[in-house]
């Protein structure tokens, strides 16, 4: 790897180390020496030397931030001394319920059966992409085939959903007789309201 002379003069090792630590604190995945060298516009050998300096500064017992060499390259992690504090940070009981957007999306999927994102968006009057993604990630809904060949993916509720809501099955959902006799009727009503809302 070429490390032109001008870099050695204009970019002393200490400055390179600062650049590397900056890159590492912004990265959301480990960075390889090569990636660091390209980003810092410097040579790989010099980057390794800078990493050596940083490893000395950011090590167990000396700093709360620790530089770790992992499979994909280098990354910062929390020191072991701070493990307890970190677990308190991450394991704070999430008593937070579901967001209004998530709850609406979940209600639509639970009551109206397998439903695609465009369908949910149509009923809600706003895009449902992030709400759907969030519910899938939490395991409350899951993919259930496509509308037609090549159509949009549909979603249904999961057994976890039933557990969280204390239901033995979807038939135990509170009745919505006031809205319609069948899910088709309810759906038609929701569509007509959605149209009025967007008119």
């Amino acid at each position: 790897m070429d490390a032109p002379l001008r870099l050695i003069s204009s970019n002393p090792l200490d400055q390179l180390a600062r650049t590397v630590e900056a890159l590492l604190v912004v990265a959301s995945a480990p960075l390889s020496v090569e990636e660091l060298a390209i980003a810092a516009d410097d040579g790989e050998e010099r980057v390794e030397t800078a990493l050596g300096l940083l490893a000395e500064r950011y090590r167990e017992g000396r700093s709360g931030i620790v530089l770790e060499r992992v499979a994909g390259g280098f990354a910062f992690r929390a020191s072991r001394d701070a493990a307890e504090a970190c677990s308190r940070l991450f394991e704070r009981p999430v008593q937070r319920g579901l967001s209004p957007a998530a709850l609406e999306t979940l209600a639509i999927v639970a009551y109206l059966g397998p439903c695609s994102r465009p369908e949910i968006a149509r009923i809600r009057g706003v895009a449902a992409d992030s709400a759907v993604a969030g519910l899938v990630e939490r395991g409350l809904i899951a993919e259930a085939g496509r509308e037609d060949a090549g159509g949009a993916v549909r979603y249904r509720t999961t057994p976890l959903f039933e557990r969280v809501f204390g239901l033995d099955s979807l038939s135990e959902l509170p009745r919505l007789d006031d809205l319609g006799d069948s899910s088709d009727e309810i759906l038609a009503r929701l569509h007509s309201v959605a149209e009025q809302r967007s008119a």
Binding site: A29, A75, R77, V94, G166, P174, L190
Partner: protein, 283 residues
């Protein structure tokens, strides 16, 4: 120099100079809903073409391009300041009218205003315009702020070696699901007529549209671009064109009066300048 205020208008609802029209509108002796704003724009364009053809040929000038047989020097001496100054003033006044008219199309607001004395109505209109202008200024402030933050980088998303937080959900009540669906099935409190304003397209809509076109292509033919639009939209689109020229984002040339108008991106204007200078003066 073309004096916009003295621009003679011959419209269905009004005949006389432009500033008298404004006066009557402000005094509510003339209902803006009755005024054909596109007609005003067309009258202005005609005057513009008239004035421009007298000294030399082109209807619209752009100092940087020369597409006519006339020598560039004589053309510059006679016409360009006329176009830009007059266009600027015209834009300010007409965009104010456009906004007032667009807002007048909200029936409930119209009713509100009808109860007011003329001077109160003018105050109310000015108040609404001011509210809008504040938001435009706030948008400008945000644009500058964003530019100033360009060199601040921070991590988005989780740290590489951080523990994955467990997203445990507390037990939920199924009644909540039924409740939100009932809310979704409830008729909206009142029919929103917000879309009424769209019947009269604001200039900003075309500013955005033309910027998008120029993002893809370096130049385009104005006439072809607006060929499918209703006449009033074409007139508003032309205003947008003038505004883009005024802010230095485009160059315009036209071989002869009523010949196709060619629009080209001005390369010297950076993205950031573009986002901060777009604001259309509205009053």
């Amino acid at each position: 120099m073309l004096a916009v205020r003295e621009l003679a208008l011959d419209l269905d609802a009004f005949e006389g100079p432009f500033d008298l029209l404004l006066t009557l509108v402000l005094k509510e002796e003339l209902d803006l809903a009755e005024v054909d704003v596109a007609g005003i724009v067309l009258a202005f364009l005609e005057r513009l073409a008239e004035n421009a053809t007298r000294p030399v040929s082109p209807a619209i000038h752009d100092g940087s391009t020369d597409t006519t047989a006339a020598p560039a020097t004589s053309r510059r001496a006679d016409a360009p300041e006329l176009d830009l100054d007059a266009c600027g003033e015209f834009l300010v006044l007409v965009s104010a009218l456009l906004e007032l008219k667009a807002r007048g199309l909200f029936p409930d607001e119209e009713a509100e205003l009808a109860d007011l004395e003329p001077e109160e109505a003018a105050e109310e209109l000015a108040r609404r315009l001011a509210a809008y202008r504040r938001m435009k200024d706030a948008a400008g402030w945000l644009a500058e702020r964003l530019e100033a933050q360009r060199d601040r980088f921070f991590r988005l998303g989780p740290a590489p070696l951080a523990p994955r937080p467990e997203q445990k959900l507390a037990p939920q009540d199924p009644a909540g699901l039924a409740a939100v669906l009932r809310v979704l099935a409830t008729d909206p409190p009142q029919l929103s007529l917000a879309h009424m304003a769209l019947r009269f397209p604001p200039v900003s809509q075309f500013l955005e549209r033309f910027r998008a076109v120029l993002g893809r292509r370096r130049r385009f033919d104005f006439d072809a671009e607006v060929a499918d639009l209703p006449r009033i939209d074409q007139a508003v689109a032309f205003l947008a064109l003038l505004e883009l020229r005024r802010s230095g984002e485009i160059t315009i040339d036209q071989a002869a009066p009523f010949a196709p108008i060619r629009v080209a991106r001005e390369e010297t204007v950076s993205d950031s300048e573009r986002t901060s200078t777009w604001t259309l003066r509205s009053a």
